[in-house]
Symmetry: D2
Subunit: 406 residues, 4 copies
């Protein structure tokens, strides 16, 4: 076990729910930063699948720099149109050439990126048309790989080539859950069916002060479904009610909900309401970039330890900035499930030159009564060790989309 350098200690963190104030944010599906993360990751997955299928291994790539440049639109009650498309630039590096005995083969990186981007948009943002509302471009640095090397390395743990780290914790505080689930609710199939006017660009900010939780929802409204300021305002009321009900089912906090606080209803669809043609603010000037949104557990929690690494777009077999964050959150969650454990933090730091399942330091901080801590210490070590040893198959779940990344 020593190769994993796991240290278990009593946590010195005060759980956020016991702090006087909390602030938590989630950027939802249609937020420009979320779009950027999603396209990074969709492109990485599609490319990984291609590499696997053609070369039996996921080759080196890193597409964690996607820029979403906002377009221009003219929404109006009952309709409207995009007048200038969103411009999406996918950048990063990839293995563009594979050398084998048979010669050099080119990898269709560009077409793969274009397809992944279009497919993600089509599956996730109902009214954003990849054919006419979006320009997708890419600039990806080339690289080559030797097939012989790839075969020889298969199966083993890749070595860390950088000092990097990952952080995870569990459980979510009630405020955190409320923020996360509010967005998930508003982007659920059910709500999209009942209230189709609710756009995918939903940002939720939760501020808890003592016992009072304020949830502020910024929600793009889809103009084709709304025909008057009254309809718009009534939609806001419905959303407010839904969110409040849901929050009440999670927490005993005193919840207040605000929706689209910047509205000026007197100006109607002349810019006074948060109306959009497509459901994302990217249609009108809002930009997004990979790594600028949610952390691996889907939240921005400024008062918790956080890694600044983008998890999206990085290759899922060797990039520590991606894998260690996932492992830390997953292991923290499992350890937190042990009897009488209140809260768990995990911090992993890589060791340059060592296999990635052997970190320089793996630090588990457990909030639990002393006797519990003594009892679960060893279990906790085992859980984390297991997750570290499974790091070389984590890509399978990532490719299936079963892992929370942002």
């Amino acid at each position: 076990m020593s190769a994993k350098n796991i240290v278990v200690e009593k946590s010195s963190y005060i759980p956020p729910s016991r702090l006087p104030v909390e602030i938590v944010e989630r950027k939802g599906t249609g937020h420009p930063d979320y779009i950027a993360d999603s396209i990074s990751e969709a492109a990485s997955r599609e490319l990984s699948r291609y590499y696997l299928e053609h070369y039996g291994a996921i080759l080196h790539h890193n597409l964690d720099k996607v820029l979403v440049v906002g377009g221009q639109s003219s929404p109006r009650f009952g309709g409207g149109e995009v007048v200038q498309p969103i411009y999406i630039l996918v950048s990063g590096r990839a293995t563009t050439e594979v050398v084998s005995e048979g010669g050099r083969e080119s990898v269709p990186v560009g077409p793969i990126i274009l397809k992944a981007t279009r497919d993600w948009i089509k599956s996730n943002i109902r009214f954003l048309d990849p054919d006419t509302h979006v320009i997708v471009d890419y600039r990806v640095g080339k690289g080559s790989a030797d097939l012989v090397d790839i075969y020889n390395r298969r199966g083993s743990y890749p070595g860390a080539n950088d000092t990097s780290m990952g952080i995870g914790y569990a459980p979510l505080s009630p405020t955190e859950r409320a923020v996360l689930e509010t967005e998930r609710l508003l982007n659920s199939e059910k709500v999209k069916k009942e209230l189709p006017a609710v756009g995918e660009d939903v940002k939720v900010m939760g501020v808890r002060k003592g016992n009072k939780l304020t949830l502020t929802v910024a929600m793009a409204v889809i103009s084709r479904f709304v025909h008057s300021t009254e309809e718009y305002l009534s939609l806001k009321e419905e959303v407010k009610k839904l969110v409040k009900e849901h929050a009440a089912s999670i927490t005993d906090l005193d919840v207040e909900v605000y929706v689209n606080t910047g509205d000026d209803p007197s100006r109607g669809d002349k810019g006074g309401l948060y109306l959009t043609v497509t459901g994302t603010s990217a249609e009108h000037g809002d930009d997004g970039a990979t790594g600028r949104g949610n952390r691996a557990n889907g939240l921005i929690t400024p008062f918790r330890p956080m890694s600044l690494e983008a998890t999206a777009g990085k290759n899922p077999v060797s990039h520590i900035g991606k894998l260690y964050n996932v492992v830390a959150f997953q292991a923290a969650s499992e350890i937190c499930g042990l009897d009488h454990v209140n809260e768990v933090y995990i911090k992993l730091i890589s060791q340059i030159g060592k296999p990635i399942n052997q970190p320089l330091l793996a630090y588990i901080a457990i909030n639990a009564p002393d006797d519990v801590l003594a009892r679960v210490k060893h279990q906790a070590e085992e859980v984390l060790a297991k997750h570290l040893d499974r790091i070389n198959v984590l890509w399978e779940s990532i490719l299936k989309g079963n892992v929370s990344l942002f």
Copy 2:
């Protein structure tokens, strides 16, 4: 009639079929220059329709600068793929904003361009997938129009704001017809059905020396339909036969046909044959630009007078560089249909500040016996005058796609 400044004279041109040598070229549907012309024109048409529908008039625009930057591909017998998409940049100017009593409205120029481009590709190049083989971008200068002015000007002839000119002639020489029809044949539905491997990128060069016509066909072959060098060579033979038969039905010249003369069959699908995944050479490094291909009658005829103006992409209501070339070819054709007229050339030069149906000079050169010339002179004038007076409704045919432009 004098306002039209029409002059009819005996032609001093020797018909090209009587010259010792002729050289004629046609770039077909999938040629990068033809693609650029087509996208310019498709975008102009789609935009014109939008203007008409929303504002009752075709507003100012000029999209005659499209650049098609070649991609990269790996064709191989029975398959292959595009590894780097073609990049298409549509540039020019358009009316992006319309000012009316109700305020300023934005015109969705970008989405219109994207849609027109995609639609053209889908309808014209069977195996070029606009979703994954092509990146479409645009950079269009903005302009605004006042709706009141537009209404006031409707119906009248716009004024010429530049000295520009158009040239047309009729009839085509047998060599010219052979070149034009060879491409039309190879891109006909019939041939595409019988020989689906014949790609849309067909370039035909005709060189006549005395009585001998050499037709050199450069034809992209679609790799998925061809499984061996033998199949490829046999396809070439079939095409050669088809072309020869068709030419024989047009002309008594001694016709020789060459197909893909640059092939090196010994290298097979490792670069020795003109194989493509998509049917256009733009997939692998060949670039195209608006205005660099065929003239308004669909041909490049270096020994005939030619205008260098691109007809594609220009607005069809007022741009002389577009309209005068069309009028000149159409009127020449009609005049040439008069009894015993052998050949007609028409040259039109605009007069700055005058309505476009009143050129500075309208010159008709007729090749005919003197008595015929004397007889048809007045008719010829009338024909041209009629075409000039119809110039303000020519856009209707252009928008319907009934006018040859390139």
Copy 3:
């Protein structure tokens, strides 16, 4: 004072130097993320100056989305060259048009961005030539402002239009200082003079475990100054020595220094060393993006509370994501200077619709003995209130470059 909602409490944070482990990172001047931040900010400053000079006020803009796409280079001992330029895309929004009695005026946003970018490169990265090593492009959403409104609003505190927050703390731990100063040292005029081969792209990672601090320096070496593997290795030794000496002057920790741990000297300048032509890894495939690097105090401290907002490129008069982080760090630093205060954290949360000097919550956590805390509480409030009230002139220092932003 109540309008500022300031709460002072005893800190529940354990100072990082007393935690068993710390991890701290700084991306230096030539790091692609730092370049992106710098260009965002340089463009914002240049634009702010233009607005001030022409319209008497800094108009709305947000250029916090710059993407630096890595190029390609061939460094070699004693020379080498960039073979594919770095591509920089500046994106965001700006006031592109100002409406006044005299009509509409356009703001030269593009030329300002190009100039700011070039100037920053020339002043900061000695061997990166903006003429031939870099392509600078921009895509900025347009906006218009009415001069009358601007005059009316001048001087007052702008209102918050979003829930956003800022976090600051003081003092730096010895590990943090060591990391920050190591980079500052290696990018100092002195070191650049003595060891010109040290490139601007210096990334420092500090990992403290108990009493042992490991500083890992990744440093681009400029190939023209190094003629052999030996020279390169001896440069690394000199740097190691310098860094170790400097660290020893700051801290009693047991310091170990590693430089360019990924090197494989046996491969020499064929890819085995961290050689660059220009001093930045952006020359060869490393990408950067605004907001992905250092926080406002110049460090990435994953175990400390951090804001994810990019400070760079945002307008310095009203953007909370920029201003609150600066205020929090500056006020924390000043409060920390009070007698016997050990550590201070400040968290500021904006209140939508309220002037930005009146946050929803201003939370000061002080680590100090209880008696000290009781004594300084009021002073601390006053310090923060002062900084909040000065927030409307903070832009002056920001424009002068006197404020740490990343």
Copy 4:
């Protein structure tokens, strides 16, 4: 001699000066199409020099697709500014990689293109600042060359790999000379010194009808030098006078000169005059593309035979579309210098697979009395044969800039 397939015949062309009407155009230095041609050619030259210096031979490249996308500007009396830069996209193909015994070397194609473009702008358009008025980007298809092959092929005549052709004629008609020299005059050092307000974007259109020649000059005026409508109008008068005087020194035709006929002086610098900040209309919405401007002799002569091939940007050692046009004009000029020869046309058609000094057909049409023709026939053949045999060193003059290309 037979290998050159030269045929000499009596010309059937009527010299243009004896036709009832002529129309001739020249696009001058600052015209967007001329800028595109120039950048194509400058990039090709710079690249050729690099290849020569490093590999002893000019490697394959073709940069004949440059697109100049117009910007936006606000000129005003005494000043003004560019508000949106011109965007220049250089596209085509080049040898980006050279394989030798020592391995693979990359060619710095991008930096070479950027440098060539900037240098050309700086040397040719006084007030167009490449740092802030222009964005230069490129998209060039890659290719590789084997050094061994290159050495083996050096010195010999490359083979034609396409059917292509060139056309030339001599002498210029008086109208043609007047058009060409008018532009040369207005862009001469002398005029730029005396009338610095005359911008580089000068387009001259000459229309001769019988004995009357109308020269229409469209000339960008540089706003910083002009302070009122009066000054502007007086500049136009001076230019008119200069042009008229010069034309009178060339020809006996009755010359009329118009300058900037589209002006509406009543609107002054609010769009009524042809004012520019930089001297080129590309600053405000006018686009340009390689190959859309002047033919190899610097003129557009629609009534003369013309090749549609762009000469600019093509490699000067093997591209027939470039070389045959140059050879045809140069040889025609020399033959036309023979005693009593009135006019000469040369048409060259390449033969696929044959060395480029052995055309399929080399046709010389001479306008001369029969006895003269009989006498000079052989000489004419020799002259053309000499030019064809020198085709493999023509690149030297082209690289020195001694050859008229557009």
